[in-house]
């Protein structure tokens, strides 16, 4: 029984590890094709993200919005839908937080900080609402709507910055700075900047863990995601779960955006997100919705982002490589069935089991 348990566990983790391995190989090939040294690339990534104290803190800090995005994607994935609109919800949430941060004045920090965070959450939820409604009421293709919404969020956010809240003194397109009372409290400023968002993240992670694995609702969500029809027939209200999974996903994404505004940039920069929302997608899918794995995955992705600065400086490799990695991972995830088939074939071959019906 013990051997069987660990074998099943291995079988479930194996496809994800295989995918990561294949991705590493493919990236190396691409780098070689453009004349870059892949080994050096990975070393630089490591150096830039974990090699220095400052880099490490930066990496941890960056992992927060990425992880929240992954949670948002995982929430939807748990009930069987794909929330790929996280990027748009994140950007829109950042907008909400910025507006609350800039225009609400004369408030003590103890009120302003949570209020502005809530602004982000609210905007994120609102932004997830329309696609959710279209999906549930009209069976519209959720992924298509989300992709359109992502594009719209970017354009709308730029518009609002330029037209309404621009900082005339700034060299780049950005909003006015937010009030100091909305700044997220810092844990440390040197060797690197770290704010309390880490605690927020851990709290959310614990909540999600308990919710998914220990509650009745987690069980129902799992049933919903694996076989929604059977869940329906058994009396579980799948539509409600789907609706809330998507909207709360928007909330988490909005929170991530708010954290960036209130904790990292202290204003809303146009295009501040290099694609955190998209990072969440492969992380959630490869982690099988497990919060612990997602935290690890987010650290790795954050390392990628932080480290890619180093690789750009040292090797001249464009930062776009991160998007390429995203794409490779997601594409490979699509073959998961087949990869599981290969994994299973190689594992059962050793035992040669046969069962008659």
């Amino acid at each position: 029984m013990m051997a069987k348990l660990s074998r099943d566990k291995m079988l479930s983790v194996l496809p994800s590890l295989l995918i990561i391995l294949i991705a590493v190989v493919l990236i190396s090939i691409i780098l070689l094709a453009t004349g870059a040294n892949p080994i050096l690339f990975f070393m630089n990534l490591f150096k830039g993200s974990f090699g220095t104290k400052r880099g490490l803190i930066n990496t941890i800090s960056k992992a927060v919005p990425i992880c929240l995005s992954a949670f948002a994607v995982a929430l939807a994935n748990k009930v069987g839908v794909f929330n790929i609109g996280v990027e748009g919800q994140l950007v829109f949430g950042a907008l909400g937080s910025a507006i609350a941060g800039i225009y609400l004045q004369e408030l003590p920090a103890i009120i302003h900080v949570p209020l502005a965070l809530f602004g982000g959450i609210l905007f994120g939820m609102l932004y997830a609402y329309l696609p959710t409604w279209m999906y549930i009421k009209q069976q519209a293709n959720l992924m298509v709507v989300f992709i359109m919404m992502n594009n719209l969020a970017k354009l709308f956010s730029t518009f609002v910055i330029i037209a309404l809240i621009q900082d005339p003194a700034s060299m780049v397109t950005a909003s006015q700075p937010i009030q100091k009372s909305a700044y997220l409290p810092m844990i440390m400023t040197s060797p690197g900047k770290l704010n309390i968002s880490v605690f927020i993240l851990i709290a959310v992670a614990i909540l999600i863990y308990v919710f998914f694995y220990k509650t009745v609702y987690g069980y129902e969500m799992t049933a919903c995601g694996v076989n929604g029809e059977a869940a329906d027939y058994s009396g579980i209200n799948t539509r409600k779960y789907i609706k809330w999974a998507l909207i709360l996903g928007g909330a988490l994404a909005g929170l991530a955006g708010a954290i960036e505004v209130q904790g990292t940039y202290f204003k809303l920069y146009d295009g501040f997100s290099p694609g955190y929302g998209f990072d969440g997608i492969p992380i959630a899918l490869l982690s099988n919705n497990n919060p612990l794995f997602m935290m690890v995955g987010s650290l790795l992705f954050a390392a990628l982002r932080v480290g890619s600065n180093t690789t750009q400086i040292e090797q001249g490799i464009s930062g776009e490589i991160v998007t390429v990695i995203q794409g490779i991972l997601v594409t490979l995830i699509a073959c998961e069935y087949f990869i599981r088939y290969i994994a299973k074939r190689s594992m059962t071959r050793k035992k040669g089991r046969r069962m008659t019906i």
Partner: protein, 504 residues
């Protein structure tokens, strides 16, 4: 005496299951050969190999004396083999003619010659007396007609060997007789016919010889005239089977469930009946006559367009699967894979499905009491003989029979008043089927009622107290099981024009 088909030493190994184990199967030219066995015996797999859909792990196939190796259905078709599948392989949006010629369309100057296709189909139809409406859209024609289109497909491709996989599941008794006549007609012009079935009547009526498969292995091949139904059953199952024998009736007068003039879309039309306490009421009819919808209406999955449904004296106002389940009604749905089980979850979790909100499984309201869940699973696995006995195994790995046992175990053990079961024996081996009907009988003894829908007329006659026959959504008769006959029920299955007769 030549062999049309010879399959020697066929073994088909799937990753988890050996569907055929060293099977030898031979069919003489010009005979009608029945390939029989209960669900899961490997009959369909063997024929799928013959038709080129699967490549066998081991063994050889000879067609008309020549060794062949099929890599696709096209190879089999070109060797003169045609197959009529259990679930029709027709494209509903296309016409009859387009379907018949699919894959071998007549062309004119590289273009699809639709006119010629229509002409050729009409010729074929006349030749075999099928009366096919060449220009009709397939989704608009009857199931019996659709089957004839399927057979026409095989004949159009000039098949000499025709395989029919469970051809009578969707036919009325009269249509089954017509099919028998057609098979004789085809035999008389030299065609070889292999018919896969598990229905005793067809096996004995239609075939010249019978081959029995059991658990992937071949048991025996006999001449039909030299054997009888009981013996074949014994070969199929390995022991004697007495379904519903020695049944006692526990029927009482009190009414558990009542339908009053219930209608739903065009599937259920003005249906009224009463389900008494302690009785097993069977619903008989050809496939898709509204049985599924009636069971789902009773279980609260569907909401009627008009009419009243009364559970235990109280009219249902809000249709919700959850509420009706909580009121003590268990439901075994028709499609257990889609609706009854979550195959990706463990057996333990599936034994909980739908009942997770009960107090016994909850800990401080929100948390799931895992110990209670596993105790529940251990208990059910033992009492309902579910195999394998490991409660953490993924349900998708269980056999059809054991999967159904999981559903029945879950629903019948929690039901306090009524069990609704839609085709509980479909795809289930006879051992599990016996167990399931025994469970229903025990439930009646305890004062519960069972509403049972099945396409297997023999089973319904054997295990129910009364039978309600439906045709095209109408109830055409409610009769006492012990007092009716196959013929009488067969006539009611097609006679939708008659008014409902209620026999109390």
């Amino acid at each position: 005496m030549e062999y049309a088909v010879e399959m020697r030493g066929i073994t088909m190994q799937f990753p988890a299951v050996r569907a055929n184990d060293n099977v030898d199967f031979s069919v003489l030219k010009g005979e009608i050969h029945a390939l029989v066995g209960e669900n899961g015996a490997g009959k369909s797999t063997l024929m799928n190999i013959l038709y080129g859909l699967y490549s066998p792990t081991a063994g050889e196939v000879y067609v008309n004396g020549r060794k062949t190796e099929f890599h696709s259905a096209l190879d089999a078709i070109q060797a003169g083999i045609g197959m009529v599948h259990q679930h029709f392989m027709l494209i509903p949006r296309m016409t009859v003619a387009e379907n018949v010629v699919l894959g071998a369309e007549p062309r004119k100057n590289r273009l699809y010659d639709r006119k010629q296709a229509g002409k050729e189909v009409e010729q074929l139809s006349a030749q075999y007396d099928f009366s096919l409406p060449a220009r009709a859209i397939v989704r608009d024609i009857s199931l019996g007609m659709q089957q004839r289109v399927e057979i026409a497909k095989a004949l159009y491709r000039k098949a000499d060997i025709i395989i029919l996989d469970e051809p009578t599941a969707v036919l009325t008794p009269q249509e089954i007789d017509e099919l028998g006549n057609m098979l004789q007609q085809l035999k008389s012009i030299g065609k070889t016919i292999i018919i896969i079935t598990h229905k005793m009547k067809e096996i004995m009526d239609f075939s010249d010889r019978i081959t029995v498969l059991r658990a992937g292995k071949k048991v025996i091949t006999v001449n039909t005239e030299e054997t009888d139904a009981n013996q074949i059953t014994e070969y199929m199952v390995g022991r004697e089977v007495h379904l519903g024998q020695g049944r006692k009736s526990y029927s009482q007068e009190e009414v558990m469930l009542e339908f009053q003039n219930v209608s739903y879309q065009d599937k259920v039309k003005n249906v009224s009946f009463k389900l008494k306490k302690g009785e097993i009421l069977g619903i008989a009819g050809i496939d898709n006559s509204g049985q599924k919808e009636i069971t789902e209406l009773a279980a609260g999955i569907l909401t009627p367009d008009s009419g009243k449904i009364i559970h235990n004296g109280m009219e249902v106002k809000i249709y919700s699967a959850k509420e009706i389940k909580e009121s003590g009604t268990g439901f075994v749905p028709q499609d257990r894979h889609r609706h009854g089980l979550v195959l990706g979850m463990s057996v333990e979790d599936n034994l909980l499905l739908g009942y997770q909100r009960l107090a016994e499984f909850r800990n401080k309201k929100v948390f799931l009491n895992r110990k209670a869940v596993s105790d529940n699973a251990i208990d059910k696995i033992k009492n309902y003989d579910i195999r394998p006995t490991d409660r953490t195994v993924l349900t998708g790995k269980l056999s059809g029979g054991n999967q159904q046992k999981v559903v029945v175990a879950r629903e019948s053990s929690r039901a306090k008043r009524m069990i609704i079961a839609d085709q509980p024996s479909r795809g289930v081996d006879i051992g599990a089927t016996e167990l399931i009907y025994q469970i229903f009988s025990d439930a009646c003894k305890k004062g519960e009622s069972v509403l049972l829908s099945s396409l297997e007329l023999d089973e319904i006659l054997a295990v129910t107290d009364r039978i309600m026959v439906v045709a095209e959504g109408w109830v055409t008769g409610i009769v006492d099981s012990s007092k009716t006959t196959r013929t009488e029920i067969g006539m009611m299955m097609v006679n939708s024009a008659s008014k409902q007769e209620v026999a109390e």
